[in-house]
Symmetry: C2
Subunit: 721 residues, 2 copies
Amino acid sequence: MHKKPLLVLLLLLLSLTTHQQVCAEDGYRLWQRYDLVQDAAKLSAYRQAIGELVVTGDSPTIAAVRKELQSGLNGLLGQAVKVSQAPGQSPALVAGTPASSAFIKNTGITDRLKPLGDEGYLLLSTQQNGRSYTLIAANSDIGVLYGSFHFLRLLQTNQDISKLSLSSKPKIRHRVLNHWDNLDRTVERGYSGFSLWDWHRLPDYIDQRYIDYARANASIGINGTVLTNVNANALVLTADYIAKVAALADAFRPYGLKVYLTARFSAPIEIGGLKTADPQEPQVQAWWKEKSDEIYKAIPDFGGFLVKANSEGQPGPQNYGRNHAEGANMLADAVAPYGGIVMWRAFVYDDKEPDDRAKQAYNEFKPLDGTFRDNVLVQVKNGAIDFQPREPFHPLFGAMPKTPLMMEFQITQEYLGQGTSLAYLSPMYKETLDADTHAKGKGSTVAKDIDGTLHKHSLTGIAGVANIGTDRNWTGHHFGQANWYSFGRLAWDHSLSSEEIADEWVRMTFTNTLAFVKPVKEIMLGSHETVVNYMTPLGLHHIMAWDHHYGPGPWIKDKHRADWTSVYYHKADENGIGFDRTKTGSNAVAQYFPPVAKQFGNLKQVPEKYLLWFHHVGWDYKVKSGRTLWDELCYRYSDGVKGVQQMQQIWDSMQEQVDEERFQHVKTFLNMQEKEAKWWRDACLLYFQTFSKRPIPQDLEKPAYTLEHYMRLDPKFVPGI
Amino acid sequence: MHKKPLLVLLLLLLSLTTHQQVCAEDGYRLWQRYDLVQDAAKLSAYRQAIGELVVTGDSPTIAAVRKELQSGLNGLLGQAVKVSQAPGQSPALVAGTPASSAFIKNTGITDRLKPLGDEGYLLLSTQQNGRSYTLIAANSDIGVLYGSFHFLRLLQTNQDISKLSLSSKPKIRHRVLNHWDNLDRTVERGYSGFSLWDWHRLPDYIDQRYIDYARANASIGINGTVLTNVNANALVLTADYIAKVAALADAFRPYGLKVYLTARFSAPIEIGGLKTADPQEPQVQAWWKEKSDEIYKAIPDFGGFLVKANSEGQPGPQNYGRNHAEGANMLADAVAPYGGIVMWRAFVYDDKEPDDRAKQAYNEFKPLDGTFRDNVLVQVKNGAIDFQPREPFHPLFGAMPKTPLMMEFQITQEYLGQGTSLAYLSPMYKETLDADTHAKGKGSTVAKDIDGTLHKHSLTGIAGVANIGTDRNWTGHHFGQANWYSFGRLAWDHSLSSEEIADEWVRMTFTNTLAFVKPVKEIMLGSHETVVNYMTPLGLHHIMAWDHHYGPGPWIKDKHRADWTSVYYHKADENGIGFDRTKTGSNAVAQYFPPVAKQFGNLKQVPEKYLLWFHHVGWDYKVKSGRTLWDELCYRYSDGVKGVQQMQQIWDSMQEQVDEERFQHVKTFLNMQEKEAKWWRDACLLYFQTFSKRPIPQDLEKPAYTLEHYMRLDPKFVPGI
């Protein structure tokens, strides 16, 4: 009697399961997969702990919380979670603020919430009248959303949720992506297709990707996005485009993601019809005020402006004999009434060639300390040159106590193999964040300058140049997703380790199976060093190909600016190689605080990874391994290639642990990377050998072609420019 | 005893179904959805008829057949179809050729197969030893694949498959897409994202989209694709790119899709280092021969070249005082040894302004009839100007009896609302194909010239300029898919009606529910006329905005070429409007065969849809409706807007019949189209009113803004250039 209906149901389900298209494993879902928990014990515990879901309130953000928890739990628990208006008989997951939820208000946790500010949250297992509850509580709706993503992450990574008592709040206030996206949808230094922003169909058409983009950012705590390239086009500030930007802002708002724009300094001339953009001209100041009024009318929570001025051809205040602070302050005054901020980039260099480009930002900005408005952040790249595979930290960190400095990391892999290389960048970010500036004695890390604790700033910020495009998997390389992820996680909490972040990401993106998690983390954690080895070991830098930066070009010289050539940076000659930035050279080391300057300036003390950054070193100089510099260089380049081959071996052994689609994708990309690694190794060693005149050690693989062959290679239409 | 395991299985299935991500209804699957058949009776009949699947053979194409039938049937029947090596006890679906399948060979259908050539197929219900079989049989593997797609279509559209006895073969041999894709991945006149071809990652990385692109083309019988823009870049003929093209060819080959390239006529200079590209120079001829050898070595089934020469700035034989035939023949000789063809475009115009651009192709090519090599097709656009919303058929059709003419249609909507307008183009294609040239008396349709029956050519071809890009749904607008689909279907069989094709497409792409199929077909079948009405009614043409062709620009004048302006074409003045192409004017009508020339040249006989194409007509001339020309113009523009609003109303009423995602997408696009329709109507009427000096009829909606407002509109970064 009972069997029949069951059978019918079974058949129905069978047809459901077999006819349903299996979604492609194309990476679109990022780390937000919400697939069924595979660990049976954990699954059972989770199902028991979450008998129903209670999310009260009706703001768009609370609606997003409800939707995310519901779809997340349905997927992870493999059953439709019951959604209730108020906790009933079953153990409930309750999410809300004291304002939106009477239940949360009555739990008496308001005191615990107070220190969490307007973005923090509390995850708490609690008992009430003998029943168990799990709370996701915060002072604000967005805090609840951040807490919900944290909670889902606990399930995705198979953590125990039975005795939760954890709170979290961001260490940095403005956690922002910078999109170098042009209005024609090309992306400067973008290697994953084209710009997500479909300007032509905006403001009418809201692509589902915009929502999923905002969701992904919110899940890692990113709360701002600069939509446009720092090499800016003033048109984005015209009425037509402001309406389009407003439509994006509307789509992002429930997820706590504010929009910012790049402000082209000459916009008052180009679209305003003025004859000048001089920041001291009242009409120019008035134009920016009116423009800000217009923007804020359309986008009340507009974040503010990011500006690249007087750098690489961009106009700026110096065109009118004004300094960077005068330029920044004019814009800051325009957005101040609305709570907007200005992020003013320190990445500048003169029209005239400096003796050492590494020194310029410090020389220009340090004297301006204390002259910026309260709502200005100076945005400083992690190093003093330009997002090289490895750079020592920028000497400005710690050096402008009266000015909040904002970190600018590059997530997109401009100099790191572009779209085809696996390079997990968290270790690179951490290397800078953990560096000690000694600004206020030992322990004055860069992170402390950025998070405001070093110089007591409440306005703090961190930016990452996005690696996101229209490629189905967002980042071109599946492992590029890990860099977006790790940037967000570190922006929220820079004390996390690269290993912890990789662990989370691998589990959420692929599987919790240790046989996969462990080896793949090993791949990730060594990958940045591997790329540095085959590109720019021992502190070499800026020796890439002309213009597109894809592939090696140590021979680049005789361009219209010496500091855009490779020979300017490696200074290889018969005697040796490296840029002398000590007292006998450009003395850039003097820009660091004395303990650092002393270490970097001393050939014996400088960390070997920065050796040729700071010193011109003889070919036969004995490095720590006991080898000569030349031999060491050869071994390092060779190690880089071997590192890629090791990644290939490990990945190949993962075939059983991962879906075929992503397995093949990553395998293909690793094959490309191996070719590129050999290209770098052979081209660089053959070129440097023309100076060293020493043989490549016998036990290393010989270059496959002549130097001339490599110098002739000229890939066309390299993406990203 | 039996209940327990069933229950466990049930629970397992439950968790499978509920946890499985439902795939987004983002249109990626095109018309190849293979979702469960909803009609219970049909489903049951299909399941009964297809007890097992037998596909023998091991060629890549047969493997594709097996994979497609298996996944298609699994989806459509909602159960895993049994795959066997040979027919067994159950009624079997057997697919193969007499060569690959002994079973098929033994059915004795070889005689029925013979006339089907190397692409045709037979679908046959048959009995053998008292058992039922359904055969998909052909002379070649690719015929089996085409037949398999036809068979799947029968199921997708809920047709009876119990008494099949149908055969089909293509009427035209080369059915080719033309991609106007540039090597930097921009697409000229492309409105659905960027080029599919990820040149940078080729040849290593084979995107799944390449396979799905080939599958979709094969499903509608398209057997060739020109990968690159007719405004060509010679670099695609260099070794690096040939390797990339070969990788694409490898990916497409199982699906019968040949690759072609555009040949830049000056390539011997640009990449060959020669001083000339003169087709009479032996060294130039030798260069092309060697280049062809090189290409065919990498791609043994390379299709050949498409050439745009001496047109809009492209180099060509005329640069050296040679004619088009001399240019085409040189390339034809180079690819002839390999069976390659040359498609030489007739879309040319002089550097100097002609009295009527419509006459030029005829004047240049007609005298060359009989001078082209056997493996040259002259590719002629459907009309004599340039893919206007509506054009009378090109006078070259029928007029070159000794030369196979290839049709060039535009699928991408350059002049038809670009990416945002719903315009089903099959009626437009049919209007040209069904037009009677009278070349050999009544019934000498354009279609008969194209399919070779009119002038007895065995080399035949048809090209469609693709509307495909990286947008997730391939074509930007969901209904753009219908144009790709209908081009392919008509290329295979131009006798199909627009209604039949729409019926198939709607059923496969959305649902078989009549409550949806009927109204949506109504939308589709009227949509092209609607767009013509609000853009260029009554034979108006070429009055769009400068450069990007997005939006109206009847006021465009004073450019460096008169025939690139709007006033050249509409010739509006105080007296009237229209281009006099009769004896009193440019006499372009004389290029048609006498019966046509007489009809088009006579103001009373010319079809009203071509009125202003051929005649300059007074504002007060009484048209067939009894209205004055001016009033009629006003009503037609107004009808265009109303037509869009009608589409909106119908679509809005479809919400229950379609998934929310595609419903909203199309709704948004229809909203954009309504705005654009009003923009066209108001801008054109206000502008033409400055000549007619007559009022817009009282009962029509008044323009929302002034003419000056519309003339000032200047959308930036319009895609597709």
